[in-house]
Amino acid sequence: MMRKWLSLALVLTLVVASALLATGCASSGSGEFRVGLECAYAPFNWTQTDASNGAVKIEGTNDYAGGYDVEIAKQIATGLGKKLVIVKTQWDGLVPAVESGTIDAIIAGMSPTADRKQSIDFTANYYRSELVLVVKKSSAYANATSLADFSGAKVTAQLSTFHYTVIDQIPGVLKQTAMDDFPAMRVALESGIIDAYVSERPEGVSAVAANPDFAMVQFAVGKGFTTSDDDVAIAVGLKKGQAALVTKIDAILAGISDAQRTQIMDTAIKNQPSSN
């Protein structure tokens, strides 16, 4: 009796293990350019179920990744003469992944902050954004024009990003606990737990388009957050000590003009599979 159960369980596990092994055994070909991103942060990167609009298959799944980051990754891969492989990884796993070599680059809307530069190297920027605040259209803050207008507001931003640090620049702000990701912040805003969250323009545009209750507050030059280039720009993250690769990618990126970047971003915003 016992023997029957044991052998059944053993057979089952062997079958499963070999299935797992078969699906996963990808050879680490040097002809691949393995890029890590979350695929959950439109319009920079998202997951879609089909290959429309030039989306790239995500390794190990039947889904496809699209977005600004993916478009840039495609161009870099072409420039390097390698095949693009998208490796969907949760945010906290990205830096360890590139450090350990399981991916070649992070192209995930990640900013080259001083903290991160201690662990990994970054290329030149491939996008420069501006910081905005997303609020509810019905709130008093919808018509704000300067940071001072947000005095007394409950504001939060994403955990472990510079978005969270700049909140301190708002005089008299009620800084809330940082949140894990954008979906969490959208829920909090919708339910009134917070008055506003810090975001970047592309995400703000998308959020407003998806939710008619939301509005985006942009600031004129000098009235908004003071940020360093390294904070609001995004760049490609690489394992330390690869100067040649950095140079190569920089060259490819230099070939994409500002106008082209804006166009790619606008296309991405249009193509994102948000609620429609």
Partner: protein
């Protein structure tokens, strides 16, 4: 089947909560299902292998100590005990997400080996579960009356034979609820494997929420799917429990002196 399709015809702005749920499931169903498949695959195999590891460790740790054994045997026993204790403490005492990072990225860094993601996920869940199950099994074995061991020994059975034929069948019957617990925990805890690029249900859900901006509805779908998986698993384990218990009635058989009589007698538990 018609409901989700119908939902697609309703204009976005007019959809209710459940119409959104239907729409999202119709549109992103493949992602949810593939995520659930991965979650189930990893938690099923991981829990079973973790249980096997726990059984092995439980049996090894309960080998009776013999004061008259030779000193190399005693030294070996001590070393094995310490190693097992370290394993159990480390893997029970650290979060699985940390174990995942260290094992997966650590081995890649140290040995330059990239383990296939799903295999890594399976290994991590197994090793983690093994540590918990080892203690559960040990407790299960200790809860078996000493008399069972003594009876088996007194007819000349070895520790291994006693374990396989008498003690473990009874101990496992007692452990099944805890095993079910562990299984349910694993189904949910596989969500941390997204840091090593495993596309299980939670990661897929986050992607859908992030791209659709419909967090409540998306996570509602995920909750229902998790619930279905955990509920099914616990029911199946309940069934196994009952099978192990055996019938509650027994048939009287004839002996050589009295004719065959088929009288069913309802016995005890």
């Amino acid at each position: 089947m018609g409901a989700p399709l119908l939902a697609l015809t309703v204009a976005a702005a007019d959809r209710s909560f459940f119409e959104w749920v239907a729409y999202l499931f119709a549109r992103y169903g493949s992602m949810f299902l593939s995520g659930a498949e991965v979650t189930l695959l990893i938690s099923l195999s991981g829990t079973i292998v973790g249980f096997a590891i726990g059984l092995l460790i439980g049996v090894v740790r309960t080998v009776p100590r013999r004061p008259e054994a030779s000193w190399p045997a005693k030294a070996l026993r001590k070393v094995v005990d310490v190693l097992l204790m370290v394993y159990i403490e480390v893997f029970r005492g650290t979060p699985m997400i940390v174990q995942a990072m260290v094992i997966f990225y650590g081995t890649a860094q140290a040995f330059g080996v990239r383990i296939p993601y799903l295999l890594a996920g399976f290994a991590i869940v197994s090793i983690n579960t093994g540590a918990y199950m080892a203690e559960i099994v040990r407790g299960g074995i200790l809860s078996i009356d000493k008399g069972q061991f003594e009876a088996a020994h007194s007819i000349g059975m070895t520790h291994g034979q006693t374990m396989m034929n008498v003690v473990l069948p009874q101990a496992i019957r007692n452990i099944l609820p805890a095993l079910g617990n562990e299984f349910v925990i694993n189904i949910k805890d596989t969500s941390v494997l997204n840091v090593i690029s495993v596309s299980e249900l939670f990661f897929e859900t986050k992607s859908v929420a992030g791209t659709s901006y419909k967090t409540f509805e998306t996570f509602f779908i995920a909750s229902v799917m998790y619930l279905v998986m955990t509920f099914t698993v616990t029911r199946i384990l309940r069934l196994i429990e009952r099978k192990m218990e055996g019938k509650s009635t027994y048939t009287i058989h004839g002996s050589q002196t009295t004719p065959e009589s088929e009288i069913r007698i309802r016995g005890g538990v």
